[in-house]
């Protein structure tokens, strides 16, 4: 990954995290693998409890050096620590929390999101992967679904497509899509661009986006 990619991924993660900076209530949040896992680096609110679907309610910061315990990993198999008040649960309880609607927000990566808010993120047919993980449970069960992804795929093609071409993980489930170019809110069948990055324009986004979207009257700037 080149430096530019890293900067863009950090921007995406920071702009997801900022949605949860000023809360006067606590929430339970699940972070997927990849860009979503970086969101935890920018959350500055101790009342955002992180859930790892392999059985942790209350994931702390990444573990390094002497803090590494090989029996304490997150769902992406990275060594992590406990936050204060951490609880371990079995896998049925962990997904009971998800399916039962007790996880307030999940941040997931995606291959494609389309006009209807359908999300494809679990498999590319005939690829090297053979697995589904917790994506289908999270996308249906979590109260809010935030997709954190690069705007374009490796071939330079937009990931905000008219209609998903890859197998769907969940239908009409995207609530917010955060890319390095903008923050798109899916509200009652409409897609509204509410925040835009400093290094782009609405016209540029339209060129690189297949979905039809409206622009909020009070279009804000993403943090960088």
């Amino acid at each position: 990954m080149n430096v530019d990619d890293r900067v863009l991924e950090r921007r995406i993660a920071m702009n997801v995290a900022k949605l949860y900076h000023d809360l006067d209530y606590s929430i339970l949040m699940n972070l997927g693998i990849g860009i979503p896992s970086q969101v935890s680096n920018y959350i500055n609110n101790e009342y955002v409890y992180l859930h790892a679907e392999n059985g942790i309610v209350g994931v702390g910061p990444m573990a390094t050096g002497n803090n590494i315990d090989f029996q304490l990993i997150n769902a992406g198999r990275q060594p992590v620590t406990e936050c204060r008040g951490c609880v371990y649960v079995d896998s049925a309880m962990s997904f009971g929390l998800i399916r039962g609607g007790h996880v307030d927000v999940t941040v997931l990566g995606a291959f494609e999101v389309d006009q209807e808010g359908n999300v494809a993120n679990w498999i590319i047919p005939n690829g090297k992967q053979l697995g589904v993980g917790g994506a289908m449970d999270l996308i249906k069960g979590a109260k809010k679904v935030i997709i954190a992804m690069k705007h374009l795929n490796k071939n330079g093609k937009t990931k905000l497509v008219k209609k998903c071409s890859l197998p769907i993980t969940g239908y009409k489930e995207a609530d917010i899509v955060v890319t390095e170019k903008g923050m798109f809110y899916f509200e009652n069948g409409r897609i509204i661009l509410k925040e835009i990055a400093c290094d782009t324009t609405v016209e540029d986004i339209r060129i690189h986006t297949e979905v039809d979207f409206e622009v909020a009257e009070d279009l804000k700037q993403m943090i960088d």
Partner: protein, 225 residues
Amino acid sequence: MRKIDKISTAERAMSVVKDGDTVMIGGFGLRGCPFELIEALVNTNKKDLTIISNDLGNSGAGLGKLLTNKQVKKLIGNYYTWNPDVSNAYKRGEIDVQLIPQGTFAEAIRAGGVGIPGFYTMTSEGTTLGETKDTRVFDGKRYVLERSLRADVALIKGHKSDGLGNILYYKVSRNFNPLMAMAAKITIAQVEEIVKTGSMDPECIVTPHVFIDYIVKEVDNNECR
């Protein structure tokens, strides 16, 4: 009805496994895997096994050894991307693979252990993993019918056991282990330590002893394999 003296060696306990059996094995990404029981299962050379587990370890490590040793007929589980041998064997037609979303997989094992033959969930509804399943609408939402899972033998990893088989787990090594303990005809537990019966706090025990048939104290406490 279960035997009174449950403490055993891995080799002796593993004599209950027969060719063609369905075996549940705990663990998530090598954590909470009963490595010494898996090693003993590899040594039995029992064939045509259906393995129910979250993943299949890494290539040649943990549960991956069962595939290397050609003991697997079918895998039922959730995530095999960590072990590329699985996808290769599947593409060559050597094994059958049934993928289940992780939460549905966990609940299917829990249900199997507590006498519930099937349940409805919204997970996978409308997707390729749900397309062959019966559906039903409850309160305006469509759900898919999932069957529960049971096994002939479960191999689990605990942290501590007492002499009866009351079990405590350690951190994320808990994962599927307490669920699988409930869902098999015979459950074999590998534990790091066996403590005096009566010394555990009854309020804190996770798996009650009635689910456990064999207790194997591990020889080499090394989770890093």
